[in-house]
């Protein structure tokens, strides 16, 4: 599958990694590749949302367009928007 160029919307708690940008672009054919691409450009960002077992952290959500992704193996097409969302929690 060819690498796609997509838009990634960054939740505010992660914008310290993207110099404040709320939206960046990334290449990859799967979420795994998109996040690896992001981490190369913004070192450390992946581990804050994905744990060492490649699981999405409990209070994070990833959407491809309007569909929630359950695994990093989900594919991404050119022009898709990946939303990185911090689930409502805490107090």
């Amino acid at each position: 599958m060819a690498a796609a160029n997509c838009t990634v919307r960054i939740a505010s708690p992660l914008r310290s990694y993207t110099a404040g940008a709320s939206s960046v672009t990334a290449d990859g054919a799967t979420l795994h590749e998109i996040l690896a691409n992001l981490d190369r450009r913004f070192p450390g960002i992946r581990f804050r949302m994905i744990d060492e077992q490649d699981r999405i952290r409990p209070h994070m959500r990833l959407f491809v367009n309007t569909s929630e992704a359950r695994a990093l193996s989900e594919s991404v097409r050119a022009g898709d928007t990946v939303h990185v969302i911090c689930a409502l929690s805490g107090g």
Partner: protein, 369 residues
């Protein structure tokens, strides 16, 4: 000697700087507002260096390093993380970095970190890249040692390095017990003999205990104390059986608490902050009357120190990392409360004054120079 306190809270990091007399304190911060900060520790080998253990409600745990006494911070490039699980192995992921300990004086740049779930990690480059200590994390007995955690998970804490031998380590696990390694973490043995575990069916269980805080005296490293969920203990190595020195505490106070702090030069002097462990375990100051207790004779007797502290209706407690001493000849003692106040004594606990109020819940208070 300058005095500075680093205050780690549920909502960020703060600093308190003292004047020469340690009478007036100036609060700075917050830094990392909104971050859950568990520990900030100065490197005694390189005092400009500090490490901070932090996460947020959403984001995974990490470590930050400062090389300018906390003015700016840089995130670890490889935070503590368990190795990837193989096949059907239980896949563990660090939920929080809970504890930081500088390595031995002879091992510049070496640090240890304890996590929840209970894991031990080591950095040899000043805290930027962390590797699992496989001798503990993958120990064949680990799953038996660490069987169930606290409501917030299991915590690996009180990582102690023998100042005479960098290979001689102790760790505490809530819940799991105290463990010792003499080969730099390659292998571990339980060290819980004599320690009560009222919540276990076997009162003589070799592990499964709940040490809240373990301390080793820096000038007499064979002398250890520990505050447990079930009592207050002292151990003089090479003995392996802990002595319950908390039995000398007043009966109406008991010997439950979180922190224990040792005098920097006198191995017979220690301070604790008892909390209410009766009935349903309120974990508050006892009867709403907070007090520090001090021993001058290695736990044979304890004296109440509450001058200056609230006399009634004060229901806070002090968590395991939230009490510390400084290195002044006239020993300063400090604690931070779950209610967000910081208290100081510049005469070893004889009199207390409040030096900061209304902070978020305080997780740790550490002294820096």
């Amino acid at each position: 000697m300058a005095s500075m306190l680093w205050i780690s809270t549920r909502k960020g990091a703060f600093a308190l700087r003292a004047d020469h007399a340690r009478k007036n304190w100036k609060l700075a911060g917050p830094q990392f507002l909104g971050h859950i900060v568990h520990h900030i520790v100065q490197d005694p080998r390189e005092p400009k260096v500090l490490l901070m253990a932090a996460k947020t409600g959403h984001l995974g745990p990490t470590v930050y390093r400062s090389e300018n006494r906390g003015r700016t911070w840089r995130e670890a490039s490889q935070p503590p993380a368990f190795r990837k699980a193989i096949d059907a192995e239980q896949a563990r992921a660090a939920q929080r970095v809970f504890w930081l300990t500088p390595g031995h004086a002879s091992e510049s740049g070496t640090w240890y970190a304890g996590t929840s779930p209970a894991g031990l990690f080591r950095s040899e480059d000043g805290g930027m890249r962390w590797e699992p200590v496989a001798g503990f994390n993958d120990h064949p007995m680990r799953s038996k040692w660490v069987t169930f955690g606290t409501p917030d998970g299991e915590f690996l804490h009180s990582i102690l390095v023998d100042p005479r031998d960098p290979k001689h380590l102790y760790i505490g696990i809530s819940i799991g017990g105290i463990f010792e390694s003499t080969d730099a973490g390659g292998d571990w043995t339980p060290l819980n003999e004599g320690v009560a575990a009222d919540f276990l069916p076997d009162p003589a269980a070799p592990f499964g205990h709940d040490p809240h805080c373990v301390a080793l005296h820096p000038l007499e490293p064979d002398r250890l104390y520990h505050q447990n969920h079930c009592g207050l203990y002292r151990l003089d190595r090479p003995e392996r059986r802990w002595i319950r020195v908390g039995k000398a505490m007043p009966k109406k106070i008991g010997d439950v608490g979180f922190p224990i702090v040792l005098h920097p030069t006198d191995p017979d002097t220690a301070w604790v902050f008892p909390m209410d462990g009766r009935t349903v375990w309120p974990r508050t100051s006892i009867d709403g009357k907070p007090a520090v207790y001090r021993t001058h004779d290695a736990g044979k007797t304890w004296r109440r120190l509450d001058r200056g502290l609230p006399r009634s209706q004060a229901w806070f407690t002090v968590l395991r990392q939230a009490m510390c001493v400084d290195g002044h000849a006239r020993c300063g003692l400090y604690f931070g409360t779950t209610g967000g106040d910081v208290w100081a004594s510049t005469n070893a606990g004889e009199r207390w004054s409040c030096i900061a109020q209304h902070l978020p819940e305080i997780y740790s208070v550490t002294h820096a120079v």
